[in-house]
């Protein structure tokens, strides 16, 4: 019982996910700064940001709109992100084997942060937040199908196993990235993760210069700190998920630690590079991108899998 509590709260649960997410957020910002001839933030900056918002900053509530929904949405988003993280990390780190069908639960839990952002934005009663929420809805509709198809293809590749642990076992000798279909799926998955994280080509729901941070516009103080933490957590969880789906997971023992960290940083570097070398696309362009091109790639990959490639 006490051991379970340790798993949930410290390692690999809440604290581990939050701290790793903060470090990855720093990594992302530092690389961005180097690409833009800037110096970049100090190592602890993401944590300074979080604690400043949590403890120091005033919380201002919108006069119109539903206050309880507005305040609960960030809590649910953080819960969803951390639960997904727990379900991913326990099998990946070989602590618990998980249960049959957990990959489908993970798929649902990873959608919760985006959904709660929408609910919180609509509860704030701000027209800019409403525009942001409507854009995020369209974006979810477009990328979730692709994400589901990717997971279906992975299940197909892993001999119809719907348990994350077994998917990892199949990859023990040869990770899925080693095949043509694996490479195709990985490319699509990176773009989907980019959209899930709301990074630049697909950040139209925040779109600072259009709708001034869209659905987060009314958030301040502690609720915004929760959103920040949820975002940090997602920045850690989704690359870990990609690692476990394509790169054979992470091992935290011996020299493997270095290799695992490199895998993670590599994926985050890829996401950072994409976000720094592209302008924001319009929502209709993003929808066409996922509905037509990305879905097409996944279907090609599925056909390749059926041919054993």
């Amino acid at each position: 019982m006490l051991k379970d509590l340790f798993y949930y709260i410290i390692y690999p649960g809440f604290l581990f996910v939050a701290v790793s997410g903060g470090i990855l957020a720093w990594f992302d910002r530092k690389i961005t700064a180097w690409l833009q001839f800037r110096k970049g933030p100090p190592f602890l900056q993401p944590f300074y940001d979080f604690f400043k918002l949590l403890l120091v900053k005033e919380t201002i509530l919108p006069a119109k709109g539903s206050k309880i929904t507005f305040l609960l949405a960030p809590v649910f988003s953080l819960t969803g992100a951390l639960l997904a993280g727990l379900l991913i990390l326990l099998p990946v780190l070989n602590i618990k084997s998980g249960f049959s069908g957990d990959i489908i639960v993970i798929f649902y839990l990873l959608t919760i942060p985006s959904l709660t952002y929408i609910i919180g934005a609509l509860a704030s009663g701000n027209p800019l937040a409403a525009v942001g929420a409507s854009r995020e809805m369209k974006l979810i509709v477009s990328y979730e199908l692709t994400f589901l198809l990717i997971i279906a293809a992975i299940i197909l590749k892993a001999n119809m196993s719907i348990k994350l642990n077994e998917i990892l076992l199949v990859q023990e000798d040869s990770p899925f990235i080693g095949s043509i279909s694996g490479v195709l799926l990985f490319i699509v998955a990176v773009f989907t993760v980019q959209a899930k994280l709301g990074l630049v080509p697909f950040d139209m729901a925040e779109a600072e210069t259009e709708i001034t941070h869209g659905f987060f516009i009314e958030y301040s103080g502690t609720p915004y700190a929760f959103i920040k933490l949820a975002k940090y957590s997602m920045l850690f969880i989704l690359p870990v998920f990609l690692c476990s789906l394509f790169l054979g997971g992470l091992q935290f023992n011996g020299l493997n630690i270095l290799w695992s960290v490199l895998k993670l940083l590599g994926i985050v570097l890829l996401l950072t590079l994409i976000r720094n070398t592209n302008p924001r696309v319009r929502i209709d362009q993003a929808m066409r991108f996922f509905f037509v091109w990305m879905n097409l790639l996944v279907i090609i990959a599925i056909v390749l899998i059926l041919f054993g490639l």
Binding site: T32, L35, Q36, F37, R38, P127, L128, A130, V131, S134, R135, V200, P201, D203, M204, A207, E208, T209, E210, I211, T212, N276, T277, N278, P279, R280, V281, R282, I283, D284, Q285
Partner: protein
């Protein structure tokens, strides 16, 4: 029912205070209304209480970015009244300063346009490459901005001939960096997707709104004061007006990027011209300005800057009127934004490179406390006409 999406008064899209109300149905902009009045400084009135030498420093501060075009236009205006012929060396130096300003302003716009599209790397790179231009300004005038180079009859500082190779070296650097930036912007497929066919202004729209500068040139109208009514050293050198036919945001970016190369070439020719002129002949002494009415214009980075002044033989203007290019360019949002999505409308608004502090006009007067209207537009026009009648009798 349409909802209002406000852009302003304080918004990351624009650096200056102004308010655009986008009346949206879903994502589609159905109507746009524009409100200003956050920035009115009464420069024209202030100018009437300054001597001619002081007015140059005042009009330099109309706009921080085109801070040479206003003194340039005012110098043209006063020199027309006084029938003053400026020495060739001063003409070259004036042209160099004006063209350097065009380079730095266009680089600034390219960076901002990248930022508006969420492409912050372009923003940072363009502004970094703008730094050598500002350093060059510091070398020539002693200031990175607001150069204080202009005076009636010439310029305040000379460019010594032994500085010229150094300036040319920095210009080569700027050109190389511009190549890099142009490549990055013109060949990016995602930028094409975001800017091509967006915010199109046809030739007729440009004529209807009397738009000027790169906004007009991007729609295929080769309007440029430097060619149409040459001043300073522009008739002495070889250069061409850059135009594009499409009229969309991408065409505007293309025109601005290509104009930078033209500016570099103009500056190089001016530097060659400087070598032929004797050093030190940068001004002629002007004793007094006779009574008269004069107009002067100059091609600012955003288009034509127009100055009108009336003098009465004393050492200050009795009437000074300024029309900045943004005043006509901003109004084109009525054609370019309506029917677009919010994403496209914002970049279309920014594509004319608006400058609100140039544009602010007094349209009506409200009481700050109660919000009652004190003076409407018609009353203000009547007061203005009365004032003009009084001035004409002076």
């Amino acid at each position: 029912m349409s909802k209002i999406i406000p852009i302003g008064p304080y918004h990351p899209l624009q650096e200056e205070p102004e308010l655009f109300k986008l009346y949206c149905e879903g994502e589609i902009v159905k109507d746009v209304k524009w409100e200003t009045g956050y920035n009115h400084r009464g420069i024209e009135k202030l100018s009437e209480s300054k001597t001619f030498d002081q007015v140059f420093f005042l009009v330099e501060r109309v706009c921080g970015i085109c801070s040479t075009s206003h003194p340039f236009a005012f110098a043209n205006c006063i020199e027309e009244i006084g029938e003053i012929e400026v020495p060739n060396r001063a003409k070259y130096i004036r042209t160099i300063i004006a063209e350097l300003e065009r380079i730095h302003s266009h680089l600034l716009w390219v960076g901002l346009a990248g930022h508006f599209l969420g492409y912050n790397t372009v923003f940072m790179w363009a502004w970094k490459y703008r730094e050598p231009v500002l350093d060059l300004f510091e070398k020539i005038s002693g200031n990175r901005n607001s150069y204080a180079m202009f005076k009636i009859g010439g310029v305040r500082r000379d460019i010594e001939n032994d500085k010229i190779p150094e300036i040319k070296k920095i210009l080569d650097l700027v050109k190389k960096k511009t190549d890099l930036l142009t490549g990055a912007v013109m060949d990016d497929p995602v930028i094409h997707a975001r800017t091509k066919g967006v915010g199109i202004l046809t030739k007729e729209d440009i004529i209807d709104f009397a738009a000027v500068g790169p906004t007009a040139r991007a729609s295929g109208i080769a309007i440029d004061v430097r060619k149409d009514d040459p001043y300073a050293a522009y008739p002495l050198i070889n250069w061409k007006v850059i135009t594009a036919e499409e009229g969309d945001v991408f065409a505007k970016a293309k025109v601005r990027l290509l104009e930078m190369y033209e500016s570099v070439s103009i500056i190089e020719q001016c530097l060659d011209g400087l070598k032929k002129e004797p050093e030190g002949q940068t001004e002629i002494v002007v004793k007094n300005i006779p009574e008269g009415i004069g107009t002067g214009h100059a091609e600012a980075p955003r288009g034509e800057v127009f100055h009108f002044a009336k003098t009465n033989g004393s050492n200050y203007p009795v009437r000074h009127k300024i029309r900045a290019p943004s005043y006509v360019n901003i109004a084109t949002f009525k054609k370019s934004c309506i029917g677009q999505t919010i994403s496209d409308a914002t970049i279309s608004l920014a594509a004319v490179d608006p400058c609100y502090c140039c544009t602010e006009r007094l349209a009506s007067v409200y009481d700050f406390g109660s919000g009652h209207k004190i003076l409407g537009g018609e009353e203000l026009i009547r007061i203005s006409q009365k004032q003009t009648d009084k001035l004409l009798k002076l």
